[in-house]
């Protein structure tokens, strides 16, 4: 009975998709927790400090050598951070708009995770393609979902019903709309070259012809900078700039609701790093290794390659945050509208001419 049910393609599809979603979700959650640790360690390194090196459960310290080592690396810090978020008082101010106040954190987190489902994070693992949804409109889907991400922040600003969060929400909506245009235009050139919107096909093309960052360095720079603006990270973190707006759109939030915004920011960072790896750095392929894996080991190796590339880009995100000061708002808008959009347009025309000439 069960075997018969499992042999149906629809049931198989449902089972495999559920497993893939569960695994990706778990991996991303772990990544978020440890990205925060890396953020703190890297910032400590840049500012000549030590960073978190004390937290450890008493039992772990009983393990000889390894216990102390993990403690000094701060490997237990994310657990303590998570526990702290859960145990803090979840305070709802009396003047907020209740429904939106509750909805906003959720609306921030969900799109961040939804974007991950079209990204091919490996080649094959025992006959299964390592992508949750192999959509033909892949990149458009991603941009659609990313554009919904702004609602969480805008609604958080509106729901808080006080000045600073409101300004943060307004700033973020203006910033995200502006940079979405530049970001969308920067990837048009990639699809002119590849001729397909499907992300698996984009990786296949790169396995054959080399990484797209070599063909489109200008696009990559625009995409990278726009990704910083879209994830609201320094040097573009004006929506939450502490020195002017207290905490920006999440000033009124505490406990798990604040943690969800935090989670959303890091999940967005992971999603944009994964997107850049897929679009510009050949995804799971290496220059000498582009064919889909046959066995289990090869499949796992490809996933490892993808994750390694992603980690490098995330360290870049973190590194930039601690090296550059914040932009002024007019500089931010100037860069988006008067520099990047014209540059991206010129890039599109030039690429289109080149593609037409070579065909």
């Amino acid at each position: 009975m069960i075997e018969e049910l499992l042999s149906q393609p629809a049931v198989q599809f449902a089972v495999f998709s559920t497993v893939k979603i569960a695994v990706v979700f778990a991996v991303v959650m772990t990544f978020v927790a440890y990205a925060v640790l890396v953020e703190r360690k890297v910032s400590a390194f840049i500012q000549d400090r030590v960073g978190p090196n004390r937290t450890a459960p008493p039992l772990a310290l009983k393990v000889p050598v390894l216990g102390r080592l993990l403690q000094s690396w701060g490997m237990f810090q994310p657990m303590a951070d998570g526990l702290k978020f859960m145990l803090k008082e979840d305070f709802t101010p009396s003047y907020v708009r209740k429904v939106y106040f509750w909805l906003a954190p959720a609306i921030t987190v969900i799109p961040a995770f939804l974007t991950l489902c079209v990204i091919p994070f490996g080649s094959r693992l025992g006959g299964q393609k390592m992508v949750i949804a192999d959509l033909d409109v892949g990149i458009l889907y991603t941009f659609g979902i990313v554009s919904l991400g702004v609602y969480g922040i805008v609604l958080a600003g509106y729901a808080s019903n006080s000045k600073y969060p409101f300004l943060g929400g307004i700033r973020s909506s203006a910033q995200m709309i502006s940079y979405e245009i530049a970001m969308g235009m920067s990837v048009v050139t990639l699809f002119l070259i590849v001729g397909d919107l499907n992300l698996s096909r984009v990786i296949e093309w790169q396995a054959k012809n080399g990484w797209l960052v070599l063909y489109q360095p200008v696009s990559f720079v625009i995409f990278l900078v726009a990704a910083f603006a879209e994830t609201n990270r320094l040097p573009f973190d004006l929506p939450e700039s502490e020195t002017e707006l207290v905490g920006g759109y999440h000033t009124e939030y505490s406990s798990m609701k604040f943690a969800l915004f935090f989670l959303g920011e890091y999940a967005n960072m992971i999603a944009s790093a994964a997107m850049m790896v897929t679009l510009f750095f050949g995804g799971w392929t290496l220059p000498f290794l582009g064919t889909p894996a046959e066995g289990l080991l090869g499949g796992l190796f490809h996933i490892g390659v993808f994750i390694a590339k992603m980690v490098v880009l995330m360290v870049v995100f973190i590194w930039v945050r601690w090296m550059l000061p914040r932009f002024r708002y007019d500089q931010l808008m100037d860069l988006g509208w008067r520099r990047f959009i014209p540059l991206a347009l010129v890039n599109i025309v030039a690429t289109a001419l080149a593609v037409a000439a070579f065909n």
């Binding site: 659609g144 554009s147 609604l155 509106y158 909506s173 203006a174 979405e180």
Partner: protein, 169 residues
Amino acid sequence: MPQPTDLLFYAFAGLTLMFGFLCVANPLSRNPVTSAMFLVLTIVSMAGLFVLLNAFFLAAVQILVYAGAVMVLFLFVIMLLDLQEEERRRLNRVALGLGGVAILGLAGILVRAMTSGTAEGVGTPAVEGSTAELGRILFRSYLLPFEIVSVLLLVAMVGVILLSKKELK
């Protein structure tokens, strides 16, 4: 026995109508932000209908352009102007009459389309998902209308810039 896609169609169609109704005539709230959010939900459910028609490109663009860009700007303007809850107004007879005419006209077109069309080719839409095919049709068969629409958008844009400039030199 109804197919799963049929059930999905009714679900999305029902949601579209419900959210659309809540957008224009919400009995619980007169808050403009709430209306805008229901309009977003209407657009997203309509994208679901496009997916059921295998028009993935249209679905993605629907969400990207309308839900992601246009509605964010709506929300932006509502918040910037700090619009308060609107009081209930009396029904405007002229507007009601004109609205009725528009609904009748649309219903007439729909009924004509449903009765005159044959069942053939309904299951497989002409432009099936393939983005390249859609592009080819837009830039070959419908090039002139496409370009005219672009010019129209440009005119609107120039107009907005002109209107929003306070003093003309």
